[in-house]
Symmetry: C2
Subunit: 223 residues, 2 copies
DNA sequence: AGCCATGATACTGCATCCATAATTATGAAT
DNA sequence: ATTCATAATTATGGATGCAGTATCATGGCT
């Protein structure tokens, strides 16, 4: 069957890419549980496709670190150990810090206006205590910074790292008080950007990320 | 044909992985030229395999950034623009700097002895003006640092970045005087490690990488 | 003479099929 | 009853086949 043919609006992505995206969504939703076996046949039947594009999609996900391919054994959703998280977050903090630094150097007044708009949404959703929308706006804020920083390779690495982190079932924004804390940190970052102080922006962003990891750690003990 | 079956010494890598590795080698050797089209059929015939594992290998290389997949058009070796290089190197410098920093914190005396040994080889090959061996020893030095730093994710990113950089046909070590300069920089890095000064080691490594990029830039103008 | 249309060619992308290896189930022996 | 050996089942990995589309060449038209 395979979606309606009318979906071919300007260069349809390859089937394996569509499949990869669907699988990512399911993995992030933890619908496919960590460490769980991925049944190629079942998925192929479910998607109404053959195993070929599915297997190609899995190769892609494997190089993204979302699944592990055990030769002759099959494919499993990656399990993140506490150590893994402790390795990824500092790198993420480093990269995001760099983005903030560069963004502070390059941001035009138009860029700053855009960031301010997004930040206003963060304030709104935090006030409403809406973690989902806050999360979404947060993503857009970081994405905007990446664009302003203007280093696509750096942005790519951050996106990849974010995918890995999303493997965790825990969501620090759900932690009591974390949402407000995150907002406060964002305020200081925006302030540093406004001051056009690259070092300060980088430093605060760096701390912001590490603060996120600490929140995650609290969740681990709390259950 | 497919290598001798006797090569199954303890968990043979999947065929697509072997193919990916062979392709990487050919790409780095510029045997497959930048921007060049990759003929799936011809390669499959040459390797004596079907197109299936070959295509899977290409998916992996694509997510490594070594090739680009144009839907319905085929696969092409990635072309690095000057801008791409200017985006990758600063990130590389950032990551390698971090590795050096962490390594300075964690290195035991045994680790330091190992680094000293490798550095001695660098000195030797630099004296002999042997760029190939210098390059190889240089790789081992950086690999050793990564291991000492103990962050596998960080190491992974560096390895990936290094692959991208290797796409360039230019080799800065061939530049007159660069080999000696690189050696001198290595000396200062080792010195910082010996002093167990993380900040200094990180800073010097960072500069070392940027210095490498500058050398590459000179090569660009020199031809 | 140059340009556009039409047809031939060739390659990509997906499906299907097959061989091999791993896992599980069954049964026998200790 | 437990354990080990053996057979059946199932899934992975690779090969082959086929449909759809992009590219290239040839020929007609302006």
């Amino acid at each position: 069957m395979n979606a309606r043919p009318s979906s071919k609006i300007l260069a349809a992505p390859a089937l394996y890419e569509q499949v990869a995206e669907r699988l990512r969504t399911r993995i992030f939703a933890h619908e496919l549980p960590q460490g769980g076996w991925i049944d190629e046949q079942a998925l192929a039947v479910e998607y109404g496709i053959s195993r070929t594009p599915l297997r190609e999609a899995l190769k892609v996900l494997a190089s993204e670190g979302l699944v592990v391919l055990k030769p002759r054994r099959g494919c499993y959703v990656t399990e993140l150990s506490e150590q893994d998280i402790d390795e990824v977050f500092p790198v993420m903090a480093l990269l995001e810090g760099r983005v903030a630094e560069e963004a502070a150097r390059r941001a035009t007044s138009a860029d700053f206006a855009r960031l301010t708009t997004i930040h206003a949404e963060l304030e709104k959703h935090a006030a409403a205590n809406n973690a989902d929308r806050f999360f979404e706006a947060n993503q857009r804020f970081h994405a905007a910074l990446q664009e302003i920083a203007g280093n696509r390779y750096l942005a790519q690495l951050i996106d990849d790292a974010r995918k890995v982190i999303k493997l965790t079932r825990r969501d620090s924004l759900r932690l009591e008080g974390r949402l407000k804390q995150s907002l406060a940190e964002h305020r200081t970052i925006l302030e540093a950007l406004r001051l056009k102080d690259p070092a300060l922006a980088g430093q605060r962003m760096h701390e912001h990320l590490l603060s996120g990891r600490a929140a995650l750690a609290k969740l681990a003990t709390a259950g």
